[in-house]
């Protein structure tokens, strides 16, 4: 079983026998589990060679492809669900990728770290420096994470694009959605999982 809370939640939201495209699929764990437990088929896109190797070892369909170049290889509405976990903040144009996700998929599931979490806010307000933690381990000048946002920022973008947020689950790093994260998500939640359609 997976140790990543977000993957567990996503597995629940994906329907049986559906077709899934996983952007930045990592080592293929999600697609592997979905294929095994829910007879899901699809592809993962990845650029990290170690991750691609892990996918091949698992027998997950993996394509070496940079998401920043769009999803031109895929037909409109050719997937039930397009998933992207923990990659939004690393994209050149997150808003365009979101458009592409909803072009090729009927719905999408996006997870990303919340820059509005109290630890980030505390770090910035007391130290006056960009947060560096175990969770966000990079220095500002050398980081793949070039587009951090908060939950509120993301929801603003969805509103602008007239997207429907079907479900949202906010989790912190240990538990999935305890009462603090439910009450004050943008302050207490560390990772959000959004389920979005057009």
């Amino acid at each position: 079983m997976t140790s990543r809370v977000d993957l567990k939640v996503i597995s629940k939201w994906v329907k049986e026998d559906s077709r899934v495209l996983d952007l930045a699929c990592g080592d293929g764990e999600l697609l592997h589990n979905l294929a095994r437990d829910k007879n899901v088929s699809g592809y993962g896109l990845e650029i990290n060679p170690q991750n691609i190797q892990a996918c091949l070892e698992r027998g997950v369909n993996v394509l070496e492809h940079n998401i920043d170049q769009g999803l031109g290889n895929f037909n409109d509405q050719s997937f039930d669900t397009v998933v992207m976990t923990q990659a939004l903040q690393a994209l050149q144009f997150p808003h365009l990728v979101l458009d592409e996700m909803l072009r090729v998929g009927r719905e999408c599931i996006v997870t990303f770290p919340n820059f509005g979490h109290w630890r980030c806010r505390l770090h910035l307000s007391t130290k006056g420096r960009m947060p560096v933690s175990k969770f966000m381990p990079y220095t500002w000048y050398d980081t793949p994470n070039i587009h951090f946002c908060t939950f509120k920022d993301f929801e603003d973008l969805c509103r602008q694009k007239k997207l429907n947020i079907i479900e949202r689950l906010v989790v912190d790093r240990e538990n999935k959605g305890d009462w603090k994260a439910r009450l004050l998500p943008n302050l207490m939640g560390e990772v959000a999982i959004y389920h979005v359609t057009r």
Binding site: S41, Y43, Q53, L56, E57, V60, N61, L63, N75
Partner: protein, 385 residues
């Protein structure tokens, strides 16, 4: 010469010649009444006969893909990096078959064979063969070997085109296709290079309309030139720069057209060497087969429609500095497979060696193919149990 056979080598191998007497209708309209295919096999066919892997060769390749013919051999087979016990194409798990294609010059029926109708060498009269014809002859070879379905068909470059064609025209006869450093058809630039190679051969005064063997001569210069041009397209600018740079053979310019730069010396050596071991008519035939390959042409020029015929799963591999069949060309195949909703994985290997990279021991490439083939081997075992 191997002092001792390495532990991960298939060891000493002996080619076999298989005779086919059922006429083969060729795409050019001619019929080949009977023909031979020379093959090598490595590993054991299992009881269920489901662990066969077919290796398709590229332009100047042949059946000798792995191991040694004798202890006196200077070199092992052309893909020895990949074939052997514990290697990506693991002979402990697979029964691997490698052949010399029709029209070749290494033992299968081709221009250097005797035409039974005239009792003379075929020479330029050997009929044109296409990738499609090769696949048909390989189907007959499969029948002969009692292999209904290959676990995988594997090829690089022109070999990849054969694997691709198999998947379209005989979908039920393979479970996996590994298409490496290949393309769904040649570009104008690719054809242009082939044409330069052919003109080099045909304009050699010793070509004699292709009847050079009958006249006891060889178009050495022409074939050598053809190989020199080809060789340039197999290497990347970087690889050539790295290997030779502007290094001079002697210290100073000699102000003549002899060999001055190391790269000239290398190319001339490659050309001369090749013209000793390869047949010019075969080279002409193989380049034409490349030119003509275009499986989408039968499906309204839609590669996706062509690939929709396939039932195999695919692994595509390209190399960043390959400019003969660049990553973009592999991506055309990947795109078509995605549109056709087929199972496909794709690796774009960062490698400086150019097109030739597909023959080389590049760790990421080797490991990726090994991981994929291990899954294939597991499937064979699961289906057997």
């Amino acid at each position: 010469m191997p002092k001792a056979i390495p532990a991960d080598s298939v060891g000493l191998v002996t080619p076999q010649t298989i005779h086919f007497s059922q006429p083969l209708q060729l795409s050019c309209g001619q019929i080949l009444e009977k023909y031979d295919l020379v093959i090598e096999t490595y590993g054991q066919l299992n009881e269920q006969r489901n662990n066969g892997v077919l290796i398709c060769h590229a332009l100047s390749g042949h059946h000798h893909a792995a191991g040694y013919h004798s202890m006196g051999d200077k070199k092992s087979g052309w893909w020895d990096n990949f074939i052997g016990p514990g290697k990506p194409l693991d002979t402990n798990q697979f029964f691997i078959v490698s052949l010399n294609n029709l029209g070749g010059c290494h033992g299968s029926t081709g221009p250097v064979s005797t035409n039974p109708k005239t009792s003379k060498l075929y020479g330029p009269d050997f009929p044109f063969v296409t990738v499609e014809d090769w696949v048909e002859s390989q189907v007959r070879l499969s029948d002969h070997l009692g292999i209904d379905q290959w676990a995988a068909i594997v090829g690089g470059s022109l070999g990849g085109m054969q694997a691709l064609h198999w998947s379209i025209t005989h979908p039920d006869r393979l479970r996996h296709a590994l298409v490496i450093a290949s393309a769904p058809k040649l570009s104008a630039q690719n054809i242009a290079f082939n044409e330069v190679a052919r003109q080099a051969i045909m304009s050699d005064e010793n070509f004699r309309g292709g009847r050079y063997l009958e006249e006891n001569t060889l178009p050495r210069n022409g074939l050598g030139l053809a190989r020199m041009v080809g060789h340039i397209t197999y290497l990347s600018d970087d690889a050539m720069g790295e290997k030779f740079g502007r290094e001079l053979k002697n210290k100073e310019f000699s102000f003549d057209y002899g060999v001055q730069f190391q790269i000239e010396s290398y190319l001339r050596y490659q050309g001369a060497n090749f013209s000793d071991i390869f047949d010019a008519n075969t080279y002409l035939l193989m380049t034409r087969a490349l030119d003509y390959f275009d499986p989408a042409s039968r499906y309204d020029d839609s590669l996706a429609k062509a690939m929709a015929q396939a039932s195999a799963k695919f692994l595509l591999v390209s190399f960043t500095t390959d400019w003969r069949f660049s990553p973009a060309r592999s991506n055309e195949i990947v795109s078509a497979l995605l549109l056709a909703a087929k199972d496909v994985s794709y690796m774009e290997i960062d490698a400086p060696q150019g097109h030739d990279a597909f023959l080389m021991n590049i760790p990421r490439y080797v490991n990726g193919v090994a991981a994929y083939m291990q899954r294939v081997a597991n499937e064979c075992r699961e289906a057997s149990s």
